[in-house]
Subunit: 247 residues, 2 copies
DNA sequence: GACCCTGTTTGACCTGGATCAAACAGCGAT
DNA sequence: ATCGCTGTTTGATCCAGGTCAAACAGGGTC
């Protein structure tokens, strides 16, 4: 499915990007007709491979493009002067990276690949240009940005109002749901991030994350083997979220 | 400056909205030339007054417009089934409300006036239409959305990685900076929200917020009288944020 | 195979902020 | 002036999650 390793495809390279991509319905092309997708294709002519642990961009760098994840996954984080790191999100295929850079023309966070990954480069000036002509693209782009805002509000809810086990349950259910949307099993998946990264995202220490996993396993909610997760009781996890203290 | 009380101005009413508004540089008109602002004016023809404690919109309601705050201030919040509330933000004049609704065509949070306020109604379909024609408007709108994303990341940092007093210091410095941008004193202002709302926003209980205020006062960093705040030592507050544990 | 290195699990203890509770202050209504 | 209501402050106690520490597991390298 994913061509063995066609590194940075030059504009002259194979021109089939979005039109051939099976992530259309999760990504920018959603809602566009064939002709419109072809126009988007011209724009998204180049890709970039990012190896595990490498940065796609760093806070402070000039902003020029947004990125759509073709394969792999990323984390975004913000780092304080004193070194404290806050993971602001985990991104999977079809999701858009870099929206934070529009406001100041500089990226405001770091994007790091959690595994060897590939992104489509979408030059932002060109995207604005095309979305002035293609209504459906404009609208879809606005939805993508808005979705990011809604997602962020969910994370705030999580960080501000939930206890440790609720946070982890919410996280697992969210991952499950996103894997499902990509055609994978809702119940069994491989986490690409460490306990520490999960902890940073959830506002917890890695030990607390680990303990919560163990507790879930004891309670028969999930089966955990390192990064391999099998969710055994989705309703159980959901209930846990709505009844903070064990009923 | 603000006409005594011209309630919901009908489209036929006085047509001077953005072009006469002294919040231009904080709001959507930023970067537009005169002719462009006139076109925006046609779009932003109606306003709405919202009394203290009243909702501008509620989670679940159909999304039709975004709102620019003309006078007053708001909070936005998300409420869980079990009643837990998370305040996701406090908004002041010139700031835009409702962006969360674009993604699903329904609002995903509540917007409540913290004092008697007035907003400009910006029908979203029309805004998209106009921003397809006016490049500067399109770009400014994208910046506004992106700024919201960046702001949200800052809140995550706050909720996920900072201790109570750092959070309150960050909050006060942020308020100070926003009042300054509006031509008010950086050092002395009136908070429109309760301790409980601040607490919800910062992921703390109101008692903790109150105690942190008292501590700041003891340490000579601020002078607090109910909702009236006078910041005495801005560098001191900043230092506190970077050195979590006292020195 | 033995080694190392990174990430994970588990235990013991500690503490920052939550919880519970009471007093207090401002303010609108009568 | 008095009442009552909402919001705030302060004190006393508790506990969820942090901290410190040790053992362990997997996966790559020589």
């Amino acid at each position: 499915m994913k061509g063995a390793s066609v590194v940075p495809i030059t504009v002259a390279g194979l021109k089939s990007a979005c039109s051939q991509c099976n992530l259309q319905e999760l990504c920018l092309p959603f809602g566009l007709d064939h002709t419109e997708i072809d126009r988007l294709d011209e724009l998204v002519a180049t890709r970039r491979k990012v190896k595990r642990q490498q940065h796609l961009y760093r806070a402070g760098e000039a902003f020029e493009a947004i990125y759509a994840i073709r394969t792999g996954s990323f984390k975004t984080d913000v780092i304080l002067e004193d070194g404290r790191e806050q993971v602001t999100g985990f991104q999977m295929t079809g999701e858009i990276l870099g929206l934070d850079g529009i406001s100041s023309e500089h990226h405001s966070c770091n994007a790091v690949a959690l595994e060897d990954s590939e992104v489509c480069i979408i030059p932002f000036a060109k995207l604005e240009e095309l979305s002035r002509e293609v209504e459906a693209l404009q609208h879809q782009f606005h939805k993508v940005m808005s979705r990011e805002i809604v997602r962020d509000h969910g994370v705030m809810m999580l960080l501000g109002s939930m206890r440790a086990e609720e946070r982890l349950a919410a996280f697992l259910l969210n991952m499950s749901q996103r894997f499902t949307a990509r055609g994978f099993s809702p119940a069994e998946f491989h986490l690409r991030m460490t306990r520490e990264e999960i902890g940073s995202y959830l506002g917890l220490k890695l030990e607390t994350v680990s303990r919560a996993f163990s507790r879930f396993q004891e309670d028969g909610l999930v089966s955990v083997q390192q990064k391999h997760i099998r969710i055994l009781d989705i309703p159980g996890l959901k209930k846990l979220m709505h009844h903070p203290q064990f009923t």
